[in-house]
Every structure is written in structure tokens, then in C-alpha cells.
């Protein structure tokens, strides 16, 4: 075994790249959950973004237009969730699960003619780093600033904290939540497109392989804080890259254990961070997943 074969800079670059789809998807979901909505359809919105971005990029030969299409497709699917849960008051958990299944199926259908095609190459800044990587970090900073410092962010948190009180103060609870849901969908779509246009880059059915679920878990374990989401995504991305490299080196540890490592590490570290705090201090929005009905 030759650990020297692992170039630290190269590892760091692949870590950043591997974490990027998670950062986008989780950051979008964080905003959605802070507004009090639990959208379990992240996986579905990611894969719709992956295929929509791929198809648009192939059709226009422009990765940028591909990303744009991915954001639009993710937001459109999210708004379907928003219509069902915010206007028709459907159960958020059931609707979110249905959204994932719907997204996976629809993406597979749309993707039929696209397997085996190469997308137009995305511009790389350096090595594996494309423009979505720094943009993802900028997004995390922007989300932090928006939630912690801006007035609209305060209103969004208030809606997630106590929708009845927010309504009584005259804030449009449903409109704010729909906007958050659309934003979350667009971010998930961009995360998915990063997979199909940059990371892999090609279209395979079911290519998100649970990234949406990991993003959801990261949001919870990160106690709804942007900086911790980035940390969680890096951890997961980092251990994924590391274990792939270690497997390639033939370390003699069972590959099942190695593949398990990213999940275990991420959960372990984030649980340790949040250990010893009360539920309220963890920052779960008090209205998360609760139905808001203004007609009462």
C-alpha cells in the first residue's frame, strides 16, 4: 500500500466536487424546512434536475442553459408539492415520498433516449472544480446571511416557528412557504444537474443514488444551520472520496465496510456536535411539517 499515491490537493479538489450536489440540495431543503415545510421529495427533484439539465444541455450544447433548465424543472416539481401541501393541505410526508417516486419514474421516462450520450463539457476552473463548486459555497454564505441578518429571512424563520402568529401579524404564510419550496426545488435541481453534467458526466437511470436522502439527513443533523450543512456535506463527500481511493489502493478492508464509512462518519460527527442540547436549542422549526389552514 502506498499512501503517498494520494495527492492531498487532488483529494481536496475531489472532496469539494463530491460535496457540491449535497450542498446545493441540502441548502435548498434547509430554507424549506426553516419555513416550516418538510419536503421529503429532494431525491425526486434532484433526479428531475439531473435529466432536465442533461437534456437541455445536449439540445442546446450549453451547460449553462442546462443548469438553468435543471433549476426550472426542480422548482416546477417542487411547486407541484407546494400546490398539494400548501393549497390542498395534503400530508407533507406522504406527498414528499410520492414526489420522490414520481420524480424517479418521470426522469427514467424522459431519460430513455439519453443513455450513453456525452453532454457538452462544462467549463472547469481547475481539475474537477467547475463554477458550481464556488457558487455552492457562496450559496451557503448567502443563505446564512439571509436567515440570520435580513428582514425577509427573519420573516421566513417566523413563519416556520409559529405560522398562526405570523398570519395574525399579517404575513402571507402560504406565499412565503411556496417561495421557499420553489427555491428548495431549484437548488435540488441544480445539485442533480451537477451530477449529470459535471460529476459523472452522463445520464444513468437512478443516478442520484440516494444523494437526496443524504441531503435531508444532513439538514437535520446540522440542526438547520448553513455552516454545519457545509461541514456535513464535506464530511460525507470527503469520506466517500477517501474510501474510494483507499479501496483502489487495496487496503484489505471489506468493500462493504468502506462503502458504509461515509454514512457512519457523517452521522457520528453531526450527532456529536449536537449532543447534549435540548430539542429547542437544536433549532428544529416548531411548525416543521404542520399543516397551516388560514380559514380557521
Amino acid at each position: 500500500m502506498d499512501l503517498a499515491a494520494l495527492d492531498p490537493l487532488l483529494l481536496l479538489a475531489s472532496l469539494l466536487a463530491a460535496a457540491t450536489p449535497l450542498i446545493w440540495a441540502a441548502m435548498g431543503e434547509l430554507v424549506v424546512e426553516r419555513s416550516g415545510v418538510l419536503n421529503l421529495g429532494v431525491e425526486g427533484m434532484m433526479i428531475i434536475g439531473a435529466i432536465a439539465g442533461f437534456a437541455a444541455a445536449v439540445a442546446t450544447a450549453s451547460p449553462a442553459l442546462g443548469f438553468l433548465a435543471a433549476a426550472a424543472a426542480g422548482a416546477a416539481l417542487a411547486l407541484l408539492f407546494g400546490l398539494l401541501t400548501q393549497i390542498l393541505l395534503a400530508n407533507q410526508v406522504a406527498t414528499g415520498l410520492a414526489l420522490t417516486m414520481f420524480g424517479l419514474g418521470l426522469a427514467a421516462l424522459i431519460g430513455q433516449p439519453y443513455s450513453g450520450i456525452k453532454p457538452p463539457p462544462a467549463t472547469r476552473l481547475a481539475g474537477q472544480i467547475d463554477v458550481m463548486v464556488p457558487l455552492g459555497l457562496a450559496l451557503a454564505g448567502a443563505v446564512w446571511w439571509f436567515l440570520a441578518r435580513s428582514r425577509p429571512g427573519l420573516i421566513l424563520r417566523a413563519v416556520g416557528e409559529n405560522h398562526d402568529a405570523a398570519h395574525a401579524l399579517g404575513y402571507p404564510v402560504v406565499a412565503i412557504r411556496l417561495a421557499a419550496i420553489a427555491f428548495g426545488g431549484a437548488c435540488a435541481g441544480l445539485g442533480g444537474a451537477h451530477l449529470s453534467l459535471v460529476r459523472v458526466p452522463q445520464w444513468t437511470e437512478g443516478m442520484t443514488a440516494g444523494a437526496g436522502w443524504i441531503a435531508l439527513a444532513i439538514v437535520v443533523f446540522a440542526s438547520w444551520r448553513p455552516a454545519r450543512v457545509v461541514l456535513g456535506a464535506w464530511l460525507f463527500g470527503g469520506v466517500t472520496i477517501l474510501q474510494l481511493n483507499l479501496q483502489a489502493l487495496g487496503l484489505g478492508i471489506g468493500s462493504a465496510w468502506m462503502s458504509m464509512a461515509p454514512y457512519l462518519m457523517t452521522i457520528l460527527v453531526l450527532v456529536l456536535i449536537s449532543a447534549g442540547r435540548s430539542r429547542a436549542a437544536l433549532g428544529a422549526p416548531a411548525c416543521l411539517g404542520r399543516v397551516f389552514d388560514a380559514s380557521g
Partner: protein, 504 residues
């Protein structure tokens, strides 16, 4: 010169006309009371003034100009502020953030903490802008709401049942603040059904009944009783006290002792009493002296040791609530929402929860929904519970109506013994009278009734015997006939002395 004039305001909800041609006017600097039973239309009226609800007909004028707010923001811009009965606060957010949310978008967050400090100092309402609201007491939370309103420089301040959560000292502070605001020319619309408070504070009162204005008066020239009668629209007949107690002992506590249930609970120590048929035993004392714990021990939520609780001679100490109900001991706890009733379940389901055993609402483990619905409808009919239907959630009922429902639910099961805690807490005069009447009637039919209440007038009115629960100890039981206020004061001062007196 009137600040706000309301003419013929009407609002219909499915199945009920909440407001029917309501008119009133409020002058600057006036403290105007809005009085009415639960469901009389007070909340709907203020929601229309505050822009939360659009009237179906009628018009409002503010300063002589037509006023029709599109929403609360428009109402606030017009100088109308409101402190809600259930605080519209965000527990996880800080005091400053909560206040910022209630102000217009033009208010800069910067400098807000300083303005909060200024206003709270000027009106004697101390607040720390950086504390999370979740850590504040009820009185402090109300301060946050009031400071939020004051920062808008309101001309009309609406207060919806502001004192229901306050201690007597906090009520005094609130009244001082309100009087000061009125002296500065701010009009106050004050909703309450605490008649003594209204007589002490308000210059004028508008009384609503069934959605209509039935009277306007100067509350200072009225008695609490005459105000209550205007609200109810009938002469309030004090219930005749239950007849004499029978001789058969129904419930006996023998040295009931239980450790405190949690860090903030009160231990029960050596409580003994005897309840006979037809007797109403009143247990007085300030809440937090073991009242909740005593009811939990009686209901079976907490089990007592063997031989400590006897129902008609049977040891029920180790039995759970279902078994006790089956034997004839029914109970109604203090907290309506979440303890006596499941808020999000329908009235039928709530009737079922308690009536399952005694009303035989299940056969071979299968629920008889028809019978359950009939039971729920019987409660609604017998106790005049105003609701849109028995298939609506318990949460949708007003406090007084839900209280009538949870008490009626137990009474209709014809219990041998009924124990209730704070049966008329937060309930308007008419509903409270109805509940007391029902308890007296139940005792007249031979049931032993145990009423735990902070309201001494209530206990003196209906009970045959009185004991004080202080610090988890119960005084000896005295007959209420001939019991003087001084003697009650002594009993509440220390259960031990009261017991000695009685034994002597």
C-alpha cells in the same frame, strides 16, 4: 369627537351569524370595554377592526374617513394595534426579533434594541431585547406584545382578554400602563369577561349577545351582577345549594400520600376525606398546592398505595382510570385542551375517549361509532354546547363551550362520584352558571361531587363542605353553612391550623 366609529358591521360564518349589525364608537383617550359571553362575537368584531377578517356588510370610519383595512398591516399603518389573547409570539426568536416582526418593513433592525429599552423604561415594562421569548413568563410575554404595539405609536390599542394569564401584581402594572396611555390620548378597546376588572378600569362598555349589541353603559355605575345579566340576557339565579348529604359513604381517602410527580410538582401528604352521596365537597386553595396532583390521584393517572382510596368500600388505589370509571368514579382535569380533551380530535372521538366503558361504546373491541356520535350529540344538547357539529375538532370550540362539553361528558355518564378541577376557569358568567347548576343537579340525584377550585365564591355557592389544600396537605372538612371569610382565610393560611380548629 369619535376616533373610530363602527356602523352596522355584519359577518356570517357557515352556520352562524357572528356579528349582526354591530355599531359602536370609541373616543380618543377612552377605555372602552367589549363584553359578552363566549361566542357572542367579540373576537370576530375585533378581527374586523384589525383587518384579519373582512366584514360582509357595514362600514367603519376612522377620524371621519372611511376605514376598510385590507390586512393587519393596513390596520397598523392606520394606528390600530392589537394584543392577542393567545400571544402571537415566536418562542425561538429573541424579544427584539419578535418586536421587529410586528413593526412595518420600514423599521430598521438597527437601533431597535435602544428604542425597546426607551419605551419599556417609559412605561415601566422592563424587558431584555436579547432574551429568547421561550424563556419568558406569561407576564413578560405580554409585555413584549404591548411594547411591540407601543412602538407603532398606536391611537387605538385592542386588548383581547389580557389578564387571563397574569398574576394580580402583573394586572396592577398592566392597568397602570393602560391608564397612562389613555391619559396620553390613546383609545383602548378592552375585551374581558372579568366584570370587576372592567368596572375598575373602563369608562364605557358595549355588551354583545348573539352577535348583536344589546346594551351600552358606564360600567362604573353598574354592579358585576347587572353587567352579567346584560351579557346573558336573563336574571342569573344562583343555584340552590345541594340538599343535605346522605349517609352512604361513596369515596374515602385514607392518608393518601404521593411523592411529587416532577421537579415542579407538589407531593400529597396524608390526605384524608370522606364524601357521601349527594354531597358537594369544595376544595379551595391557590393552584400549585397539590390541586392537579390530587385530581391525578383520583382519576387514576397516578396510582395510589393499597387502602388509600376507597370507592364505596372497594380499594381502587392500584386501579387505572378505565377501571375506576367502570366502578363509577369520573374525573375532569383542569386543562381543557390537551388533558381533558384531545384538541385535534372530533367531539365524537373525545366523547368516546371518556365514555367508552360506562356508555358501552364498544362491543367486542369494535367501536360503535353510531352510539358514540349519539352520546356526543346528547352532551351538546343537554349542556347547550355551541359548536358547528359533533364532527368538528375540539380545538374549534371556544373555551367555555369546550368546558361545558368536558364536564357534561362526565355528568351524562351518571357517575357515583365526580371529581373536577377548576370547572369554570376562563369561562364566561353564563357558562360558569350552567356548569355549577349541572354540578348541583348531579349531586341532588345522589352523586358525590368533589370540586377543586381557586374561586372561593364558586365553592361557597355550591358546596356543602369545604376544605383547604395547602402545600399538598388537606385541612379538615368544614360545613360551608356558617363558615366565615375569616375562617376560610385561616384555613387557607395553613391547613394544619384549620384542621386543629375543626377538630376542636
Amino acid at each position: 369627537m369619535s376616533l373610530l366609529t363602527i356602523e352596522g358591521l355584519t359577518k356570517d360564518y357557515p352556520g352562524v351569524r357572528a356579528n349582526d349589525g354591530v355599531s359602536l364608537s370609541i373616543a380618543p383617550g377612552e377605555i372602552h370595554a367589549l363584553l359578552g359571553e363566549n361566542g357572542a362575537g367579540k373576537s370576530t368584531l375585533v378581527k374586523m377592526i384589525y383587518g384579519l377578517v373582512r366584514p360582509d356588510a357595514g362600514r367603519m370610519t376612522l377620524d371621519g374617513r372611511p376605514y376598510a383595512p385590507a390586512g393587519p398591516a393596513a390596520a397598523r399603518a392606520a394606528g390600530i394595534a392589537m394584543v392577542f389573547q393567545h400571544f402571537s409570539l415566536f418562542e425561538a426568536l429573541s424579544v427584539a426579533e419578535n418586536i421587529a416582526l410586528g413593526l412595518g418593513p420600514a423599521t430598521p433592525m438597527r437601533g431597535l434594541a435602544r428604542r425597546i429599552a426607551e419605551v419599556s423604561a417609559a412605561y415601566g415594562l422592563p424587558l431584555d431585547p436579547d432574551r429568547a421569548v421561550g424563556t419568558l413568563s406569561a407576564g413578560e410575554r405580554q409585555r413584549v406584545e404591548i411594547v411591540r404595539c407601543l412602538l407603532q405609536g398606536p391611537r387605538l390599542l385592542i386588548m383581547d382578554e389580557p389578564t387571563s394569564v397574569l398574576t394580580p401584581g402583573e394586572v396592577e402594572t398592566l392597568f397602570a400602563t393602560l391608564r397612562r396611555l389613555a391619559a396620553e390620548g390613546v383609545a383602548v378597546l378592552y375585551i374581558s369577561h372579568k366584570l370587576e376588572e372592567i368596572r375598575a378600569l373602563c369608562d364605557r362598555a358595549t355588551i354583545l349577545r348573539g352577535g348583536r349589541v344589546v346594551a351600552t353603559c358606564d360600567p362604573r355605575t353598574q354592579t358585576a351582577r347587572s353587567l352579567a345579566e346584560m351579557m346573558v340576557g336573563a336574571v342569573l339565579a344562583p343555584p340552590a345549594r345541594a340538599g343535605r348529604a346522605g349517609t352512604r359513604t361513596l369515596l374515602e381517602l385514607r392518608g393518601l400520600t404521593l411523592p411529587a410527580p416532577g421537579r415542579f410538582g407538589t407531593p400529597l401528604s396524608d390526605i384524608s376525606l370522606t364524601l357521601r352521596e349527594g354531597e358537594i365537597l369544595g376544595i379551595g386553595g391557590v393552584a400549585g398546592n397539590g390541586q392537579e396532583e390530587l385530581l391525578a390521584a383520583l382519576s387514576g393517572e397516578r396510582r395510589a398505595g393499597p387502602g388509600q382510596i376507597l370507592l364505596a368500600g372497594t380499594d381502587i388505589g392500584p386501579l387505572g382510570p378505565e377501571a375506576r370509571r367502570g366502578l363509577g368514579l369520573c374525573t375532569a382535569p383542569e386543562e381543557r385542551l390537551g388533558h381533558a380533551a384531545a384538541p385535534d380530535m372530533t367531539l365524537v372521538e373525545n366523547a368516546l375517549i371518556s365514555g367508552l366503558v360506562r356508555m358501552r361504546l364498544a362491543r367486542a373491541g369494535i367501536i360503535r361509532w353510531g352510539a358514540a356520535a349519539e352520546f356526543a350529540r346528547a352532551i351538546v344538547a343537554a349542556f347547550d354546547v355551541r359548536c358547528a357539529g359533533v364532527d368538528h375538532a375540539a380545538r374549534s370550540l371556544s373555551g367555555g363551550n369546550l368546558q361545558k362539553f368536558v364536564i357534561g361528558r362526565e355528568i351524562l355518564q351518571r357517575p357515583a362520584v365526580l371529581a373536577v378541577n377548576q370547572p369554570s376557569w376562563g369561562v364566561d358568567a353564563a357558562a360558569a352558571a350552567a356548569i355549577r347548576r349541572a354540578l348541583v343537579d348531579l349531586a341532588a340525584s345522589g352523586t358525590g361531587v368533589l370540586v377543586i377550585s381557586q374561586d372561593l365564591d364558586e365553592l361557597m355557592e355550591i358546596s356543602t363542605g369545604f376544605a383547604a389544600l395547602v402545600g399538598g396537605r388537606l385541612s379538615a372538612v368544614r360545613s360551608t353553612a356558617g363558615l366565615t371569610v375569616d375562617e376560610i382565610g385561616l384555613m387557607l393560611g395553613g391547613a394544619a391550623e384549620g384542621g386543629d380548629d375543626a377538630a376542636a
